[in-house]
Amino acid sequence: MTAFANMSFSGAWQHRRLWHRVAAGCAAWQEAGLDSAEEWEDLLARANDGDGAAFARFLRLVSPTLRAIIRARGANLPRDQQEDILQEVLLAIHLKRQTWMRGSPVRPWLYAVTRYKVIDAFRRRGSSIHLPLDDFIEILPDEATGAPLAARDADRMLGMIDSRSASLVRAVKLDGETPEAAGRHLGLNAVAARVALHRAMKRLGQIAERMQR
């Protein structure tokens, strides 16, 4: 795994090689979890009938495995970004859960959804995006303690993105609101707020990078 940690994530052939790691992880998963397989099918079937508790339990049960798969592919990503990808996969499982055929094994389905979304997530992140985000956030809390330069920078940067995203960032990063609460004011649901915030931070990260040059 360490051999992969130092690689950048661009290039189709690298994706392919990295995927072998994931496949190996999935094989281990299949050996480890044969007993629980039937329960997973049962849970997802009930979930698709509208049983929310069963769906929550299903997602909790598969999360550790998905987390391991994501870590196998992206060991050099910070933990919270790995967790972001996990949530993207969970969201996809939710949105596409009706494409699982009742009565068929759930693992091949889950494996395919995860593979698709993980590859997608890494492709979209590319090789450069996971670096600058944290640097920028470190600047922001300084505003309260009166570091004028950082505050001015933050204001200037927030002025460079659209006002909706800016107020979202301001509410969450400067005023300490939760993304859900901030999103509600802007008419966004929790998922949409998270996505919008993520995009805004990404853009701010790019702006910060440009400003440093």
Partner: protein, 213 residues
């Protein structure tokens, strides 16, 4: 960077969300057949059916003009639906069947034809009209079918699009055969096959754009 909500909260939100709507195969079929029928009806209204349609259909070699595309349509439609579910493996080898039948018809006619007549038989009189008419009429069903397939979750958008394009091209071709007066397999195996293939390529491109999720 702890902008995100915890995965546990996220799971709870997902579990509380309504169950997404499933993919309806009947809707995909309606998407394919509806626009095809409309396009063909307009086409027949504008350009008419072939002369001597009823008598011509008595000949097996002419009936094959309809039946062969129908086989392609049924197979490609079925495979497209299978490929829209993660983890399922569409049995693409079945597409060899219509290809083999077409090749046999072509070879049988070629064997009966004098060497001098082979090329002129293949070129026919209406090749350009055939290609353009079928490709144009297949655009509507391809678009509608892909729209309906967006509820699915193909992990290979290009291939699912290709299969759907083949299906819509083949449906339109079966209808076009009622207009087309060229009855030699030398002509129709080549040009119908080509037209269906073009439609498949359009579907593949459309799938790569609109079937991602």
């Amino acid at each position: 960077m702890t902008q995100g909500i915890s995965t546990e909260d996220f799971i709870r939100q997902l579990a509380a969300s309504p169950v997404p709507r499933p993919m309806h195969p009947a809707l995909v079929m309606l998407g394919l057949l509806g626009p095809s029928m409309v396009a063909l009806a307009l086409y027949f209204w504008a350009y008419g059916l072939r002369p001597g349609l009823a008598e011509a259909l008595m000949l097996p070699v002419v009936t094959a003009k309809l039946v062969l595309p129908m086989i392609v349509a049924a197979l490609a439609f079925w495979l497209a639906l299978v490929s829209a579910r993660p983890g399922a493996r569409p049995a693409m080898r079945w597409l060899i069947l219509p290809l083999a039948i077409g090749s046999v018809l072509f070879a049988a006619r070629a064997a009966q034809t004098a060497p001098g007549g082979l090329v002129s038989g293949m070129l026919g009189q209406t090749a350009a009209a055939c290609l353009m008419s079928i490709s144009a009429m297949s655009l509507g069903p391809t678009a509608a079918g892909i729209l309906a397939l967006r509820r699915g979750a193909t992990t290979r958008p290009g291939m699912t699009g290709l299969l759907l394009g083949l299906a819509s091209g083949a449906v339109v071709t079966a209808g076009y055969a009622l207009h087309c007066p060229e009855d030699s397999p030398l002509f129709y195996v080549i040009w119908y096959g080509m037209a269906i293939f073009i439609s498949g390529c359009i579907g593949a491109i459309a799938g790569r754009i609109w079937l991602r999720w």
